[in-house]
Amino acid sequence: MAERAKIVSLSDAAELVPDGALLAVGGLSLNCTPMSFCRELVRARRRELELVAVVSGMSTDWLVAAGCVRKLIMGLTSFEGFGLAPNFRRAAQAGGIDVEEYSEHTLICALQAATAGVPFMPTRAGLGTDMPALHPDRTWEMVDERSGQRFLACAALQPDIAVIHVHEADADGNARMNPKLVWFDTELVKAAKRVIVTAERIIDNAEFRAAPERTSIPGYAVDHVIEAPRGAWPTACWPEYPYDGQFYLDYQRAARDPEAFAAFFSEHVAPLPDPAAR
């Protein structure tokens, strides 16, 4: 099945994402985020990305710190108990990035509208809040003439590329999470034009055929597969490894001082471009 070989090396990963791409990054908060892939984007000095991150933290903070992000389309961005995401916070406060804030579910609705090929997806979520008015061209209130019922319309949002992290994948693109905890990731996979999967391990196709009910994502929905051992670090890849709490603490401490942070980031992630270049 050489015809189906979809494997790309991690070092070539960034070439799959052009500057300015609308990129959806999977994972949930401290969990199962394609961090190795994000590091490659930082190394490659990607610019002007429009990042879709439903509930994220470290991945978004890395990409913002390195100046890769023009716009962040998000539901929530934080380090949870480890505090606010420092570079996201600074950039947002300084106007360094354009923040397009949705709620979790309205953002999922926008992705589902793209999947279904419809102009918008209706929901009761967000009614009566200040969120819809942030982007009236993307989310607007409507009233159903027949029932008189109000709803929020969420315009279709189709990422150019979605990248998610899984436990195992094969050359056909089949992907498996152990166990099958897919979070929002399948919504990103279904909606995006192209899909990249990073995996802890590349396994033989025969292993998928031996337990087909455990496959999380069908190969035909995946365009590229990248082997990335511990590819979710410092986020968790449950049940294989936990998030690295010490890294979050050290990161926060370093983030208090620009020089300390540049050194820390350069040591643990990748060299930061000098501010002039950002």
Partner: protein
């Protein structure tokens, strides 16, 4: 003398319409398409992905069996797509790009009826219903039609009910509805048809060995587009026949005849 039968010719003709990037799936009573998927995958289209019963991704069954929705087709699958919601997502997004239809009635634009013969409220014959036809006809970019009963009762000028969309009213109707692709070809027991690029009316592409153009015209309840000399349908090669009998050793494909 030929060493092939009409079902094998239809399977081979349908298989030729399936390129290597095909991601296809099947519904009920689809023995000819399922055999064609297996033939194409085993010969010219090794990259073809077939989702058996819309559930089992890329399976390796050793026979086809008596239902094209049954688990007999699922052996060796790489994934069992567990929920209809997931399936519909991929069918709508275009990842699943190919589906084959047949209907109790078909018209010149490749629209199909599987709902009623007669009026909906007082049908002469109540058929099973459109099922997924209305969904897939609208949303799957590559549609292939087949019929084992090429006669004026099946190929009609006007459907009693439009269950599934082909090219609609023809011309740019699908485009005006904002829908992707459309029907590409129709394989029957008499001939091979495609669709005129502008009018989107069914066009006679070839007649099967031993069948005349007049026979096809007489068996068709609407006016076929006929341009110049109509060639003979290429019969299946010995290799195709061998593979067909290998992937369908129990002749399940013949269940669609008589």
């Amino acid at each position: 003398m030929s060493n092939w039968t009409i079902d094998e010719l239809m399977v081979a003709a349908l298989a030729r319409e399936l390129p290597d990037d095909t991601v296809c799936f099947n519904g009920a009573v689809s023995f000819i398409p399922v055999t064609a998927f297996l033939l194409a995958r085993a010969t010219h289209a090794p990259g073809l992905i077939w989702v058996a019963s819309s559930i089992a991704v890329d399976p390796r069954p050793d026979r086809i069996g008596e239902s094209t929705l049954s688990d007999a087709l699922w052996d060796g699958a790489a994934m069992l797509q567990s929920s209809a919601a997931d399936f519909w997502s991929y069918a709508q997004s275009g990842r699943l790009n190919t589906f084959c239809f047949r209907g109790a009635q078909m018209d010149a634009y490749g629209n199909v009826n599987n709902t009623v013969i007669g009026s909906f409220d007082a049908p002469k014959i109540r058929l099973p219903g459109g099922g997924g036809m209305a969904d897939l006809g609208c949303q799957v970019p590559r549609i292939l039609l087949w019929s084992t009963t090429h006669d004026p009762r099946t190929f009609v000028d006007k459907l009693d009910f439009r269950s599934g969309l082909g090219w609609g009213d023809g011309g740019d109707h699908r485009a005006r509805l904002g829908l992707p692709g459309g029907p590409r070809a129709c394989v029957t027991n008499l001939a091979m048809m495609d669709f005129h690029p502008e009018s989107k009316r069914m066009r006679l592409r070839s007649v099967h060995p031993g069948v005349t153009v007049d026979q096809v015209v007489a068996a068709t309840g609407f006016e076929l587009v006929i341009e110049g000399d109509v060639p003979e349908t290429e019969p299946p090669t010995d290799e195709q026949v061998r593979v067909i009998r290998e992937v369908d050793p129990t002749d399940a494909r013949k269940r669609e005849f008589g």
